[in-house]
């Protein structure tokens, strides 16, 4: 972990715990968390992203970025079906996982008396999209590995 502030470290731990819990109880896939980063490229070589806004005591945008085969593996495991393309089922599943992850963050922050509300999930897909957050916002980017490959959980946030 490089130059991670106290807040960033706390955020990274909360995200990792929430992701591990969701994968263990809802998706039943083994998950390995990589080293959290506080910066990274906008283009992570992914084909599908599910994202959801959070607001309240701080403002954020939470994203889950997956290469196509990883998105299909996660969605398929959650839905109990084989998925062979990033179709509406895959996007629904990834949107729901992102919603659950945001719910996990909301719950963990509520225990610290930090209030958050969730917006609704959106999925973005395609071969050539890029995502950008406002200049000056903070970022926690955590790589996770499953058998099908690597995906990323990305929290962009502002404490002001």
């Amino acid at each position: 972990m490089v130059d991670m502030s106290g807040a960033a470290l706390e955020f990274a731990q909360i995200i990792t715990t929430a992701a591990e819990e969701i994968f263990a109880t809802m998706i039943f896939l083994d998950l390995t968390a990589g080293t959290p980063l506080t910066e990274g490229k906008d283009d992570l070589g992914c084909y599908v992203t599910a994202m959801i806004g959070l607001s309240g005591d701080f403002n954020a945008m939470l994203g889950v970025h997956c290469p196509a085969r990883v998105g299909m593996a996660i969605g398929g495991a959650m839905l109990g079906m084989d998925l062979d393309e990033v179709d509406a089922d895959t996007k629904d599943a990834l949107g729901e996982i992102t919603n659950m992850l945001a719910g996990g963050l909301k719950e963990a922050f509520a225990e610290k008396e930090v209030g958050l509300h969730l917006a609704i999930p959106t999925t973005i897909s395609g071969n050539s999209y890029k995502l950008s957050a406002p200049s000056g916002s903070n970022r926690i980017l955590i790589p996770f590995d499953i058998d099908a490959g690597r995906f990323y959980v990305d929290l962009k946030y502002s404490l002001t």
Partner: protein
């Protein structure tokens, strides 16, 4: 006032007061395709007693033209300045629409804005409740503003 009118009023107000550009609202519709070509979308989440998203979709040439006027600097392709400008536009539009939806000010809060751009991307919403898209004319070019809203 219905949602389409709130979007039209907010967009006219932001464009005329912040960018000094006149825009004309066309008939409200629902987005018929998830696909965008050579475009940029700014989005902001709305969360609280109602939840949803406010999105502005601009073809790249419209986004660069609007940014040039908004920031007072020449831009000819989508770069960090255009992303910041479109994110800020989405934020201002969401703030104005929120004020119409939540006059008391305590029920809905805005998330951080995010922008998506690229040669071709697909944008889907799961369970997005009410979905209203208002197209606007800007000197013969078109962009659109969309509100997705689920009552809590």
């Amino acid at each position: 006032m219905n949602h389409a009118e709130k979007i039209a009023d907010a967009t006219r107000e932001i464009f005329s007061s912040m960018i000094m550009l006149d825009v004309t609202a066309k008939e409200a519709t629902k987005r018929t395709s998830p696909d965008f070509v050579n475009s940029i979308t700014g989005m902001v989440g709305l969360a609280g007693t109602s939840k949803g998203n406010l999105l502005i979709h601009l073809p790249a040439p419209v986004a660069t033209a609007v940014t040039t006027v908004f920031l007072g600097m020449d831009v000819d392709s989508i770069d960090d300045d255009v992303c910041d400008a479109v994110g800020e536009l989405a934020n201002m539009l969401a703030g104005t629409v929120k004020a119409a939806l939540d006059p008391g000010g305590g029920d809905i809060k805005l998330s951080m804005p995010s922008t998506v751009y690229g040669d071709a991307y697909c944008l889907d919403c799961q369970d997005c409740g009410i979905s209203v898209l208002v197209p606007f004319d800007l000197d013969g070019a078109e962009f659109s503003v969309e509100l997705q809203l689920v009552d809590g």
